[in-house]
């Protein structure tokens, strides 16, 4: 597991999700699953966030929004693609306006499949993301020490 001293903060953006995964992300924060007890907070501001949860595939109009949110997040940052649509396009991959998975636009670290992804799976994905976050953090520190 991880040895990061602080809880990660999360930002969530709905690309072209059907809402199914979105409400499951929100359900993670509510009394049944309640990740807030570990200090994980869903923030609305990309500049406060460590982990970017993205649901749904990317389309023509929201590429800019997704890139914009990703670029505004401070390093180190981790992207988690939630649901099968964010992973590969899912049932909608043949639609004319769907480009496919989120990895076509920004680098994705953790994939959480499922339609809709269950809250347990989402929490698992986030725990995995914390591991990646820690790796990136150590790498960054090493890089800073060398230069």
């Amino acid at each position: 597991m991880t040895y990061l001293a602080k809880s990660p903060w999360i930002i969530h953006y709905d690309a072209t999700s059907c809402n199914g995964c979105d409400i499951e992300v929100l359900a993670c924060l509510t009394p049944m699953y309640d990740v807030e007890r570990f200090g994980v907070i869903n923030t609305g501001n990309p500049k406060h966030a460590d982990i970017f949860l993205i649901t749904g595939s990317v389309n023509e109009q929201n590429i800019k929004v997704v890139e914009n949110i990703y670029n505004q997040m401070p390093n180190p940052k981790v992207v988690v693609a939630i649901g099968i649509c964010a992973t590969s396009g899912g049932i909608f991959r043949e639609c004319y306006n769907v480009l496919g998975g989120v990895d076509k636009v920004i680098p994705v670290d953790v994939y959480v499949p499922g339609c809709a992804a269950r809250p347990e799976a989402i929490i698992d994905g986030v725990v995995k993301a914390i591991g990646v976050l820690e790796q990136k953090h150590t790498q960054m520190k090493k890089g800073a020490a060398v230069s």
Partner: protein, 134 residues
């Protein structure tokens, strides 16, 4: 059928007049939707009052025809009309708030303007003891 659904064919020239009549009779504009068929385009204007469903149908033979906007009568029609313009590439004149093609930004412009190639239903005919596909 669970409910009666009346469809009346109208021409572009009496569209606005007919729709105004519905407005005066306090019908609610339910939806406007276009359908691209191999030989024609249909636009359905649906109205409802006390669960009575009435549908006006505009039949266009080509997509260059100018269609008058009904958004001057029903204000909410502007959303449907902008949608039809962006997805079907139809020419709707005089929308009260014209997004000029930016309502939906799609990868493919006017995605619904083309019709899929017509697939003939496969008829299986038994001939001389073996199955042939025609």
């Amino acid at each position: 059928m669970i409910e009666e659904q009346k469809t009346i064919e109208i021409s572009p020239s009496d569209l606005v007049v007919k729709v105004r009549d519905m407005f005066v009779e306090q019908y609610r504009l339910v939806q406007i939707g276009a359908t691209k068929l191999p030989d024609r385009i249909e636009i359905n204007y649906s109205f409802d009052k006390n669960y009575q469903f009435i549908n006006f149908r505009l039949i266009l033979m080509d997509d260059k025809v100018e269609i008058p906007s009904v958004s001057g009568v029903y204000w909410n029609a502007l959303f449907y009309e902008n949608e039809i313009h962006d997805l079907f590439g139809l020419n709707i004149k005089g929308i009260v708030l014209d997004f000029k093609g930016t309502f939906y930004e799609t990868k493919e412009k006017f995605a619904f303007a083309s019709c899929p190639p017509k697939v003939e239903p496969i008829v299986r005919v038994k001939e001389k003891g073996k199955l042939n596909e025609q």
